[in-house]
């Protein structure tokens, strides 16, 4: 395993001040152009506006002139960047180095996929930025021009009123500060807490430092202001997140509410297909395993009195939760893709937080912490794991 990302101590983080007078997007593309000229990387993976002007797509750029159409802070997320990266680098690396300009949740997905052996990150420069969230796809397509304006406002005021519900409660919108073992992006663009028209570019690894040195922007400035603002917003968002999850639990929890919450599901499996960490090539739910002979359906109908078709929508949802919530990065792409506007992303993030907690694990936080289902710590397991597996003879009142 080649270590491309060296860990930097959060407390010693340094940055370089850059101008963001024309917006953070412009500042990032300007920086990329400079780095491109100095041969810091050969290709850039970045969201670019499509010719019809109504959407964004991931593009591998070889020609720096095309960076004018690129927008690192696209207002929408039709395809998750981790998934885009994995589709390029699933089957190996090339000699050419790629800079991936992605959002923090996309980077987390990329790291999770790296651990699941679905992407190779050896020759990748990960570049992220403070992320205000993205607009819901459905709102965007009603009026893309207005969406563009609205999003500019959102970046300016850092106001999360109109972004996706999951982005509103996202507490990992920047780099992981004060966390052990966390993997940092090679370069991060921070604007929170900075005075108007300025921002920081912060290296998170020796590779990032080298790039900054080459471009002539050696990081020397303290970034305390940015750090304290990030910490402040993180605390706010965490509080908001736990409140939202509590309310959601009341709404969808329980054997009465859950089937109602997913009653609109049309079994299209869109949520699964767009999910960056749902990586299986052959999914159980697409297989013939659930297509039963008529007798079975008749038997089930007789048992219940009636049976809804297609059946097993709930099995699909809860089954997918048991399969992949340990890797869920709460990016919300599933919710965007749901044609029936089910709160699937929010329910997944709620379950993900709980199940990752049981293993003291955070999806996509670190390259070096292995996925919990791939390791075990012998008899000295995590407390919560053992408590969950407690013996019935010790707890039950069997006479």
């Amino acid at each position: 395993m080649a270590k491309t990302n060296n860990k930097t101590d959060a407390k010693s983080m340094k940055g370089t001040v850059i101008s963001t007078k024309e917006g953070l997007s412009k500042a990032i593309t300007d920086f990329l152009k400079q780095a491109f000229e100095k041969n810091c990387f050969d290709t850039i993976l970045i969201p670019v506006k499509v010719p019809a002007n109504d959407s964004y797509a991931w593009v591998l750029l070889k020609d720096p002139a095309l960076l004018d159409d690129a927008n690192p802070l696209a207002p929408i997320m039709p395809v998750q960047g981790g998934k885009a990266l994995s589709s390029i680098l699933k089957h190996g690396v090339t000699d050419s180095s790629i800079a991936a300009v992605i959002r923090p949740c996309e980077m987390k997905a990329a790291i999770e996929l790296y651990k699941l052996k679905q992407v190779k990150l050896d020759n990748i420069t990960l570049i992220t930025m403070d992320c205000p969230g993205v607009l819901p796809l459905k709102d965007w397509f009603k009026n893309p021009d207005e969406g563009e304006k609205k999003f500019k406002d959102i970046i300016k005021k850092w106001d999360d009123k109109d972004v996706r519900p999951l982005c509103q409660i996202c507490d990992k919108f920047s780099v992981p500060l004060n966390e052990e073992n966390a993997t940092y992006p090679d370069l991060h663009f921070g604007v929170l807490g900075c005075s108007d028209g300025t921002g920081f570019v912060i290296p998170g690894s020796s590779k990032g430092e080298e790039i900054l040195d080459t471009v002539g922007l050696t990081a020397t400035k303290e970034v305390d202001k940015w750090e304290s603002k990030v910490n402040e917003v993180t605390t706010q968002k965490r509080k908001k997140r736990s409140e939202a999850h509590k309310a959601l639990n009341k709404e969808v929890g329980g054997s009465k509410n859950l089937p109602v919450a997913f009653a609109l599901c049309i079994n299209c499996h869109n949520c699964m297909r767009v999910c960056p960490v749902c990586y299986c090539q052959h999914c159980y739910f697409d297989s013939e395993a659930l297509n039963k002979p008529p007798e079975v359906h008749l038997m089930r109908a007789a048992q219940k009195g009636s049976l809804l078709f297609k059946p097993d929508c709930l099995l699909f949802q809860v089954g997918r939760m048991s399969h992949m919530t340990l890797s869920c990065v709460s990016c919300g792409t599933c919710e965007d893709a749901c044609p029936m506007s089910i709160k699937v992303g929010q329910v997944f993030s709620m379950v993900a937080d709980q199940s990752q907690d049981a293993f003291n694990y955070q999806a996509g936080r670190s390259k070096d912490v292995p996925h919990p289902l791939r390791v075990f710590e012998d008899e000295q397991e995590l407390d919560q794991v053992v408590t969950m597996c407690k013996d019935i003879l010790e707890t039950g009142e069997h006479k």
Binding site: G253, D312, L315, G319, A358, M388, I392
Partner: protein
């Protein structure tokens, strides 16, 4: 009500330990409550969460996953994986308030016929107390 309620428990038993224990319990003519439908699997780690959830959603009142004691796995470390996967499943049920207590893990080795009897009887009693699976009559599940 609880008097005529006969729990329907699906038991996924590992071939090497718990299934043999069930066999032993039968041969020893122990008094075991007739509530369990046994499905034999080669290792408890082979159990996909979908099998367990499928059993629940299709109307089982309880699901028992049983295998060799930790450290005694026929495949050396299968049951350690089981334990982690089980925790994950249980956490999903717990978060969604879907009666996580209806899912039970037990370690029963091949020589523990008595323990097998005790586990089954205790789990049956527990499920009896909890009552029938509320998802069973729901036509949308």
């Amino acid at each position: 009500m609880s008097n005529d309620f006969k729990p329907n428990i699906v038991g996924f038993l590992c071939n090497w330990c718990t299934y043999a224990a069930a066999d032993l319990a039968g041969q020893s003519k122990f008094d075991i409550k007739p509530s369990i439908n046994v499905i034999r699997v080669m290792c408890s780690s082979r159990i996909d969460p979908n099998l367990v959830l499928g059993a629940f959603l299709w109307g089982a009142d309880g699901v028992l996953v049983a295998g060799c004691h930790p450290g005694d796995c026929h495949y050396e470390k299968g049951n350690f994986y089981t334990r982690r996967r089980f925790t994950q499943m249980k956490k999903v049920l717990e978060t969604l308030n879907l009666d996580p207590d209806r899912l039970q893990l037990a370690w029963v080795s091949a020589s523990e016929g008595q323990r097998y009897r005790d586990v089954i009887n205790a789990f049956t009693d527990k499920i009896k107390e909890m009552g029938p699976n509320p998802l069973k009559p729901n036509p949308a599940v």
